[in-house]
Symmetry: C2
Subunit: 244 residues, 2 copies
């Protein structure tokens, strides 16, 4: 039986649950730190900060759940790598005290976090083609189910308009896409780069041919991957991302 | 006023407390993941796994506190990097459920964790010059205060005997050293490599001239370092360690 290259939304949820279950014992904080770091490393590969250029701004748009948390961690590492990240986090995760701590950490690193209610016109001030290297779409991940709620519907519409001027980097799944089926319309976001976490989801097969596709989240032993009928990836040395 | 190159045990404790305090909001799990990863990356730099050789074994000796926890995380990443780590963890941290989870994670990755009561003769079976690339001393860190308790006194005596046959890599502080004063006797451990975490402690100035000294734990903004009167380090690209 050949191994799959992708896992469905349903399997991705099972993998996540098992990784954080009593047997494996990973915590959300650990996995989020490694996932967010891997996205930041992928961005460094694809959009290295050019020391001679002022163009080091990265706007991170964080959603209300774990995909957003990955984005918050990514922003902190980008700052350490020499970028100028700015975070837009309009619906803050209230379920888990840890999300608040991730924001505290960003304050500690002097990463600007825009006011929650800044609104759709104001955040665009932080997405200028002449100074913004890329926009990180950390809005929705593998557990997204329609319908899309505001303010994210407007934000994603605006990202669609921007995507040919500023490259969009999606975390795990392009936001608004069906995790298993891909883009829902011709007006769906189509990112320049995707960092799939753990293993790509079926949606990733719908990326445009010019898009860069990375996998990150290097925390799976081969036996576990086989159990879920996918193969682990041949990461190099101590790398936390691999370009596919 | 010039900035210091080292911080005392007392300042290191204050830095740690502040990083995990209410303002900064880091959690132990995050910092331990990044610290353990940095040690593993340092080992990869200094002792790359040679694909053509069987010599990929690394013995990690973990102490009862946070230094031991860093070692447990390091072991997991070493496994992902292609090494064959084995962990000896004779006094397991009981204060924090998370230490147990770190052991569960090692089981998940099929990293052997020797029985707690294996005794001083048996663990030596896992430290053979012909097959062991290095031994990681993750026994005591910056909060160590004498007197040394068993079984660690015996273990460190045995490490002293072994250190010229198998290189020893110490995490943060060579175990048994006074954090501020350095080695306590001529029979003190003298590691081949030290990975200082966040910022070196005064003991590091007593390393033998042939020793490699790295700094890891890349999670400090420059303003915070200045407040504690040290300078941040010029890490390259996405590196989590820097050779000093």
């Amino acid at each position: 039986m050949s191994l799959m290259k992708v896992v469905s939304a349903k399997l991705a949820a099972e993998i996540d649950q098992e990784l954080m279950g009593p047997q494996v014992g990973f915590t959300l904080q650990q996995l989020m730190e490694l996932a967010g770091f891997s996205v930041a490393q992928g961005i460094y590969r694809e959009f290295p900060p050019n020391k001679s250029s002022a163009n080091k701004n990265v706007l991170i748009i964080a959603g209300p759940g774990n995909n957003g948390g990955d984005g918050l961690v990514c922003a902190r590492h980008l700052k350490l790598f020499g970028y100028h990240p700015v975070v837009y986090y309009p619906k803050r995760g209230k379920k888990n005290e840890f999300y608040k701590q991730l924001v505290d950490q960003l304050n500690f690193f002097k990463v600007p976090v825009l006011p929650e209610d800044i609104g759709p016109d104001k955040w665009l001030d932080y997405a200028k083609p002449e100074s913004t290297l890329c926009i990180v779409d950390a809005i929705f991940g593998f557990s997204f189910k329609p319908p899309m709620r505001e303010p994210f519907e407007s934000i994603i519409d605006q990202l669609y308009e921007l995507q040919n001027k500023i490259p969009v980097v999606s975390v795990d799944v392009p936001s608004g896409w069906d995790v298993d089926e891909g883009p829902l319309s011709d007006m769906s976001l189509n990112p320049a780069m995707l960092v799939s976490l753990t293993v790509p989801k079926p949606a990733s097969t719908h990326l445009k041919p010019s898009a860069s596709h990375y996998v990150g989240g290097r925390f799976i032993p081969p036996e576990f991957a086989k159990k879920f009928k996918f193969d682990t990836f041949e990461y190099k040395s101590t790398d936390q991302v691999l370009k596919l």
